[in-house]
Subunit: 218 residues, 2 copies
DNA sequence: ATAAGTATGTGGTTATAACCACGGAAATGA
DNA sequence: TCATTTCCGTGGTTATAACCACATACTTAT
């Protein structure tokens, strides 16, 4: 309960607000065991899932049975919110219990239904806008960084964004090499090679996850 | 005005609602001439831009000056909403007048501020959630389709999603070849070649923008 | 301290996608 | 209708990234 009020979705809500909403909006919690399918591709969802404990894996399976993992939502995070917010939009992915977990379901239609009494749910909707907007920016950034054809250009794109975001030519990235490769849609060893070349070419310096990007502006 | 009530952002609002909000939320319209920079990268925005006429181009410029166009927002659409919804998030992109245009600015902080009188703005916020959620799904889909390494696999990914969405093995896609290549992050001629091979291999049939995807299930 | 496991860099090979160029088809517009 | 332009497929070449294998450095645990 104390945990809930600290999640991005309920940020700014008092415990009283939450209890109030729990009644009005008919919150529901469910337990799942590792491997259980929480939401199935093709189904229509109307509920946001808030992960109370454990984690949820978002999996994509194409027509030919090829699977790939699109993301993990940990405790405190929400999943399926984009599908839940759009009426009649079938899920493209499965939500699978990555480990034993506890999920709080919140009905978007109820959330959107006007409630003259409590202004609390408006706060919730606002948080929801911010959460989806933030996910949007993350997706946009990745799109930008993976659009160049060459490894070097993708790294340039990513680095320049990080330089701007961190306000310095000296940046620390939140990825190890494999994760960076996944993020930029590259092979790890090819990535390592290109980083080495860029260092030789005097474009960057790096040590582990710390990089110095040398712009020609002195 | 009649136009405004038909935009996705104001869907479901009566003219009275809109006039009401125009007062409370202090709507502002601005004219821009083709080429004008409406919003500059690095700046903090708090307003959503609703395109009343003309169109707005979203441009990304990296540290080395390389530009790329990320998208166009036409009349009725909104832009910068993700940045406006997240406090202190600097724009990564420029918003440029693609042609002479008229922009309605709506302050998100005002939109989020509680107004005891009018419930109309809640409707607006709900629409905003749906708009961002929809953009989210679009971005996710593209991410899914561009993650495979080979052209054929990207096409499989895209086709299988379309088959599912259109509910038939016979699909019509909204792209010409160049656009499909851009969408899947491919070279056009390479794309054409691979489509030809897939036809030879008996996997698909196509004619212009109509495709038949042959699953092995008869 | 040592061992096991993980992360990273590097060389070499190969598949493959980008690139360039062009010819024909189809759409557009006068 | 004809002219013009855009769109699409194809061949050939080349650059490049994936892939494989391995050696070294770094972590972590016991």
């Amino acid at each position: 309960m104390d945990f809930i009020s600290k999640t991005p979705l309920f940020r700014g809500c008092t415990e009283e607000d939450i209890l109030n909403m729990a009644k009005h909006l008919d919150f529901r919690t469910d337990r799942y065991k590792k491997g259980d399918i929480i939401l199935r591709a093709g189904s229509i969802v109307t509920d946001i899932g808030l992960v109370l404990s454990g984690s949820v894996r978002i999996e994509y399976t194409d027509l030919w049975g090829n699977k790939s993992i699109l993301g993990i939502t940990h405790a405190g995070g929400v999943f399926a919110e984009s599908y839940a917010c759009i009426p009649d939009e079938p899920m493209m992915v499965d939500a699978v219990a990555n480990e034993d977990c506890n999920i709080l379901s919140i009905s978007v239609p109820r959330l959107f239904a006007p409630c003259p009494v409590c202004g609390s749910q408006n706060r919730l909707i606002q948080n929801l806008v911010m959460i989806t907007a933030e996910k949007n920016l993350q997706l946009s950034r990745r799109s930008m960084h993976t659009s160049p054809k060459t490894i070097r250009e993708r790294l340039f794109s990513y680095f320049s964004q990080q330089v701007s975001a961190q306000g310095s030519n000296k940046i620390v990235i939140p990825f190890d090499r494999q994760q960076l490769a996944d993020y930029l849609n590259l092979d790890r060893s090819a990535l390592s090679k290109e980083l080495g070349k860029m260092r030789n070419d005097g474009l960057i310096e790096f040590n582990k996850n710390s990089f110095v990007i040398k712009t020609d502006i002195e």
